[in-house]
């Protein structure tokens, strides 16, 4: 990254995700920030490192029947069912606002089969303002009996290379934590050409209502997110950081500046604020402020000095 002259009082918060340069390492996590406009009353969107929007599929998806969410101890389970407006409406209705924001827009994509992923990537590749694509590989592969792409290194690699071949923007692969060894997946997608990995997606869980003896979610299972999953996420980011050379974006229970910086120490070049947006819609901007204050107070040359700077042993 080229050095720049900082004005008095300014700090260098820039980080790079492959060829994508961000003004700071703070992004919003897909599915927790809508299409950004929902937060415009609360957040100065232009101050974020990047906005990652709700996952997009080829065709619109209605999502799962309710109840779709349930609160758990220090967290929540969701089974939204990937409800989204579909790629065409996303491009015509949501992109004009997003591309006018002046921050990098990262579009999260999902599909039922490899071809669907590449078709969405092809469509998005033609759209101005799409800075990068984040590939959700936690979806079931319909053609392979519903096994999640992210649970099989070969399938994860084939989705990654298909998306890479379909677009020129950096490709970030969002890893599932619901695997035996996350480093195997990280290496597989790195070898398949991924420019970065983001992790972790939600942990599969369930909740039961004792009175009715029924699952609390109509879908029975849901994805656990929030502060409850932070230790698992930190561990996986740390492991992946030892295993790959591509940049890592840390996700999982990040609500404060301290959380974000812990992920950077573990090896993340950037972070995503997720469930915290539901509680404090200004959480992402608060983390930007907090990191800037820390870098200033500690007189770090750059926020990049934190990346992987964990002292072990």
């Amino acid at each position: 990254m080229e050095p720049v002259i900082m004005n008095r009082g300014e700090v260098d918060l820039r980080v790079a995700i492959g060829s994508l340069e961000l003004q700071n390492p703070v992004m919003t996590a897909s599915g927790t920030f809508g299409y950004a406009r929902e937060f415009e009353d609360f957040v100065d969107l232009r101050r974020l490192g990047a906005v990652v929007v709700k996952g997009i599929s080829i065709a619109p998806r209605a999502g799962n029947p309710p109840p779709r969410i349930v609160e758990t101890a220090c967290g929540m389970l969701n089974a939204i069912g990937l409800e989204n407006v579909g790629v065409d409406r996303f491009i015509s209705e949501k992109m004009p606002y997003l591309s006018a924001l002046g921050v990098p827009v990262i579009v999260n994509i999902l599909g039922d089969c490899v071809e669907e992923y590449s078709r969405i990537a092809e469509r998005l590749a033609q759209v101005e303002g799409v800075a990068a694509i984040e590939v959700n590989i936690s979806c079931p592969n319909v053609k392979k009996g519903g096994v999640a792409f992210g649970a099989d290194p070969k399938m994860a690699a084939s989705v990654t290379s298909a998306v890479k071949q379909s677009c020129r923007v950096p490709v970030i692969v969002k890893l599932s934590p619901n695997v035996t060894d996350v480093t195997v997946m990280a290496k597989a997608v790195q070898d398949a050409g991924a420019d970065a990995v983001s992790l972790i997606n939600t942990l599969i869980g369930m909740a039961i209502d004792l009175r009715s003896r029924r699952p609390r979610l109509a879908n029975i299972f849901g994805g656990l997110s929030g502060p409850a999953i932070k230790p698992v996420a930190l561990r996986m980011v740390y492991q992946v950081a030892q295993a790959v050379t591509i940049p890592i974006i840390g996700i999982g229970g990040i609500a404060t500046t301290e959380d974000a910086m812990e992920f950077m120490l573990a090896g993340a070049s950037a972070v995503q604020v997720g469930t915290a947006n539901f509680v404090n819609p200004r959480a992402s901007e608060d983390v930007v402020d907090g990191i800037a204050a820390y870098v200033r107070e500690q007189q770090l040359g750059s926020v990049r000095d934190l990346i992987g700077a964990l002292l072990v042993g």
Partner: protein, 262 residues
């Protein structure tokens, strides 16, 4: 849009009946922007557990900047709110959602059941304050018993409104359902019914209105994480298929748009 995230002071906490609490908050920006049927999300405790805010319809606002919520203690979040002391600060997000559409033509009938009475007071006062809405709305309120219902009626009477009451146990007003009272009123298509309450109550009101060709708006309650259209957790099944979202498309809907058979 004008939505706010504010730390606001609790100025009054009243136990209205057993497990029924009314909080008065000094929230001038949110109170000034609020419309009947809209809601606020409130953090019930600092820290990470309970993690999520809880949604509450706005019960009443005042020109001095006060905002009231009315709720029953049903779990840990509401328990924590009920224990809040005057002078404490609470984090509020709001006003959120789409409220009632106040029809200027014809007559209005407001039907509230249980804690569904909460948004009806705000709606009634808006009808009463603004002359263009014509005749005073008819008000039907229902609850389990006298203890729960009587303390809530006086606020409507103070607006100069006559209240028809129904209780499940017959301890006050009609012994039975608010729908029985509504049926007996013999209202016609010149009316709009505004309703909030338990789902079976609203379903019954919807079917009655459908039969009599009466326009009906309902305010629905769902679980919610964000309250602002981001999490998509508050799905409400639609008659035409697919889902709406209670927080951003509602919580007030045209009754005919919703799927009631679930």
């Amino acid at each position: 849009m004008s939505q706010f995230q504010k730390k606001v002071e609790l100025v009054r906490s009243e136990v209205i009946a057993r497990d029924v609490v009314r909080l008065t908050l000094n929230a001038p920006e949110i109170a000034a922007a609020a419309m009947p049927g809209q809601f606020v999300m409130i953090q019930t405790a600092p820290g990470k557990d309970p993690l999520l805010r809880r949604p509450f319809s706005i019960h009443q606002t005042s020109s001095e900047g006060y905002l009231q919520i009315l709720f029953k203690v049903v779990g840990r979040g509401t328990q924590l709110l009920a224990q809040c002391r005057v002078g404490e600060k609470l984090s509020l997000l709001g006003p959120l959602g789409k409220g009632f559409v106040l029809c200027e033509r014809g007559n209005a009938c407001l039907v509230g059941g249980g804690m569904g009475i909460a948004p009806m007071l705000f709606l009634a006062s808006r009808f009463q304050q603004q002359a263009r809405y014509g005749a005073a709305p008819k008000v039907i309120l229902g609850a389990r018993n006298r203890e729960e219902l009587v303390p809530l009626i006086s606020d409507f009477q103070n607006l100069g409104l006559e209240v028809l009451a129904a209780t499940d146990d017959g301890s006050f007003g009609h012994h039975g359902l608010v729908t029985d009272v509504l049926k007996k009123m013999n209202i016609g298509p010149d009316f709009t019914v505004y309703s909030c309450g338990p789902r079976p109550m609203m379903a019954a009101i919807h079917h009655l209105c459908l039969k009599e060709n009466i326009h009906c708006q309902v305010s629905v309650e769902t679980v919610m994480a964000c309250g602002m259209g981001a999490c998509l957790g508050c799905a409400v099944p639609l008659k035409a298929g697919g889902y709406a979202h209670a927080c951003s498309d509602g919580p007030v809907f045209e009754a005919g748009e919703l799927l009631w058979s679930l």
